[in-house]
Amino acid sequence: MGETVQLDEAGFETIVATHHGEIYRYLRRLAWRAVEADDLSQETFLRAYRARQRLTPDANVRAWLFAIATNVFRNHARSERRRRAAHDTVRVTRRELELDGPEAEAVAGQVRTLTEQAIRGLPLKQRLAFTLRKMHELDYEVIGQSLDCSPESARAHVFHALRKIRTMLNGHALPPTEPTR
């Protein structure tokens, strides 16, 4: 019956087109399996869709989506942890399976694999802060908003993460970088 009622949804397709790839990559880095990243990215955008009317015209859409995705992942990680605590053996099997899988073989170089492992082994907040900063180059201000902490804490999380990764790589030869002055 007649034209449709406009509910300010124009533009959401554009948001999906612009940001889905990056949000999916972010969640793919965080999740254990591709199928999880798929589910989580859907959850992120469906939540965003529902909340779109609270988005002000001058809002930083990218930061907003990262915050939602981070939240979605944290909830997911929480329930995963509970589930895994109940089925601990499953966790071990899964982990081995992942690392021996074709995905791991495809990673060029042992160091990269080790680094990835080190990142995955980080405490959640450090891992999130590190990924947001080093993989997606977000500002500490934005990272703080995503993690419900101050920019300073976000920065501290990243530094702790770097320290741990470095420790994990102790004893492994790293590719040379240009010498320092």
Binding site: V5, L7, V16, T180
Partner: protein, 338 residues
């Protein structure tokens, strides 16, 4: 965790050193670090190590998952969004002269207008299956404004696209469509609507369908009365609301008897010349409201394409509202009408 016996200066500069090595330091901190590592071998090694770590991390940053995976994920998202959009209904509760009213709309149109008796959570909306609800939405505010205008008599039509998803059958949808065609200021009957949809014997079913009208006011079920002019029912037991809505349109009612003041309205009994009459024309007043449609004013009758009867000449002898033998005016009739 940190190594034992590290000199205090080295411990102190470590955060800056990590920052400088991973491209996060300010110029000042960077200079401090460079000065320090020039003389401290252990920290120089640390610095080099962190730079190497940062370089490895950099290679990870460049890695992207298989494009096919990302594309498939996006395609699934687009499909789910489309599904969500069809199920998503936005709602908001607004104040009105008739009490709090909940308005709900989907992307297709207005799906629910409900007089609330209690909390919004008790709305019909939340008892419907296959619906995703969401509070608020810019368009709802506009609808509310138009509704207030309508209730104040400043507007005679609510030209809202409708989404009749909450009607329970095609029959109900047909009843609602036929009811929507009853113009402002006119009154028809359940029998009349049954006839309009080609099911003249389904009078009770028509009444039931209108009892479940998901969009009252917009689909004006208040313009539908019993065959003898009784108001019959509205929004459960809220006949008063029906009277008020009719009063807004200038339709006179006999408040004490909860019925239309038919004697104060123009009558139209379908005829080839499409002529409308005063109630005293022939036997028209005694005919049941099955076929006869009533109009509050000549203007309203004539805007639907009718012309004055050449026998009773309603144009020369208009029905007198409020005359001695006429029904008493409803509580706040004519409010806001020109």
């Amino acid at each position: 965790m940190s190594k034992p016996q590290k000199p205090p200066t080295c411990v102190q500069i470590e955060p800056d050193l990590i920052a400088a090595a991973t491209g996060e330091a300010t110029g000042e901190a960077d200079a401090r670090v460079q000065t320090h590592v020039a003389t401290c071998r252990s920290c120089r090694d640390d610095f080099t190590r962190y730079r190497a770590v940062d370089a490895v991390v950099g290679t990870l940053r460049g890695e992207t998952p298989a494009a096919a995976d990302a594309d498939a994920a996006r395609a699934r998202l687009v499909a789910r969004l489309a599904d969500l959009k069809t199920r998503l209904v936005s709602y908001k509760v607004f104040p009105s002269p008739l009490g709090p009213i909940l308005i709900a709309a989907s992307e297709h149109g207005v799906a629910l207008v409900e007089y609330l008796r209690g909390a919004a959570a008790d709305s019909r909306l939340f008892r419907m299956g296959d619906v995703d609800t969401q509070e608020g939405g810019g368009a709802l505010e506009r609808l509310h404004g138009e509704l207030l205008d309508y209730l104040a008599g400043r507007r005679t039509r609510l030209e809202w696209p409708l989404d009749l998803r909450f009607a329970r059958s095609d029959f109900e949808r047909a009843v609602l469509q036929a009811t929507a065609a009853v113009p402002y200021g006119a009154v028809s009957s359940y029998t009349g609507i049954a006839g309009d949809i080609g099911k003249p014997s389904a009078v009770r079913a028509v009444a039931q369908a209108l009892r479940h009208n998901p969009v009252p006011i917009v689909v004006p079920c208040h313009r539908i009365v019993g065959i003898d002019g009784d108001l019959v029912g509205y929004a459960g037991d809220r006949i008063g609301l029906k009277e008020r809505l009719l009063a807004v349109e200038g339709v006179p009612t006999v408040h004490e008897r909860a019925r239309i003041a038919r004697e104060a309205m123009y009558h139209y009994d379908p005829n080839p010349d499409r002529q409308y009459c005063v109630p005293t024309c022939g036997s028209i007043f005694t005919r049941p409201l099955g076929q006869v449609r009533l109009f509050a004013s000549r203007e309203l009758a004539e805007t639907t394409g009718l012309s004055p009867c050449v026998d009773c000449r309603p144009d020369l002898q208009p029905v007198l509202h409020g005359g001695p033998e006429m029904a008493p005016k409803p509580p706040d009739a004519r409010r806001g009408r020109a």
